[in-house]
């Protein structure tokens, strides 16, 4: 009897999880723009994996393997918001025609993301070089 209840619980969780996975993939196909698609993809990373792995954990019982599955859920719940944020930030940074695709609330932030200096050593060398070239050109013009 207890086994039957466990199976029914596990099957219900798996079915709900499969529905969540399916709606996530359908959402990724139906949305038109990448920033909307992040929203649908987050459904798979949070609710989908939670329900599916809870179904497997109930079916497995209390073992080391099910504890590791809980660790997987915890890790994914911690990292999924971070990866979603990074993907959105990349899209905002590299899209030159962002205003066509989405409504921009804070233009100053977008401009800051596009122009912020990334690393030190290479950046420091090049502007000096450019200035030297400019000086050379000016001298040549004056000579002529």
């Amino acid at each position: 009897m207890l086994d039957v209840i466990r199976f029914i619980l596990s099957a219900a969780l798996t079915a709900t999880g499969l529905f969540c996975l399916l709606s996530g993939v359908v959402g990724v196909y139906r949305f038109r723009y990448a920033l909307n698609r992040v929203h649908a993809a987050a459904l798979i990373d949070t609710v989908g994996i939670l329900l599916m792995l809870l179904g497997v954990i109930i079916a497995t019982g209390f073992t080391v393997a099910s504890g590791k599955m809980l660790v997987v859920i915890a890790f994914l719940w911690l990292t999924s918001p971070v990866s979603g944020h990074l993907i959105g930030r990349m899209e905002v940074t590299i899209n030159d025609e962002l205003e066509k695709d989405a409504e921009v609330m804070n233009r100053a932030y977008v401009q800051h993301e596009k122009t912020v200096e990334t690393s030190g050593s290479a950046d420091a060398a090049e502007p000096a070089e450019a200035e030297e070239n400019m000086e050379k050109e000016e001298k040549e013009e004056a000579h002529e």
Binding site: L18, T63, T79, P127
Partner: protein, 108 residues
């Protein structure tokens, strides 16, 4: 009871396989780089679910270790890809601005 579990989870695996194919198509077609990164991230999650189900079906506990490592690797892949593409864009933009400055000085 074991048969019922295997029927349930093998059908779940079949559906997950179909969803993986759909994600792969989105990763190939996706017009922007962000679409591809999103699709790859989704595929990583689906593969983790499939590995956990396999670990239950085959009765092999060590497969969950692989699932943990796969989760971490898929997160690392997203972080690296986004950082690399942002760096490339900023580098190109700076070089373009430098070239424009030079042109402006040449005309003056």
């Amino acid at each position: 009871m074991t048969e019922a579990y295997s029927v349930l989870y093998i059908s779940a695996l079949v559906i997950i396989g179909a969803l993986l194919l759909a994600c792969l198509v989105r990763a190939i077609r996706g017009p922007r780089i962000a679409d591809r990164v999103i699709a790859v991230n989704m595929m990583g999650t689906l593969v983790v679910i499939a590995i956990c189900i396999l670990s239950f079906l085959m009765g092999e506990g060590w497969l969950t270790d692989i699932a943990m490592i796969y989760t971490m690797l898929s997160f690392l892949a997203v972080v690296l890809l986004t950082k690399v593409y942002m760096g490339i864009y900023r580098e190109k933009r700076r070089q373009r601005e430098l070239a424009q400055e030079k042109e402006g000085n040449g005309h003056a």
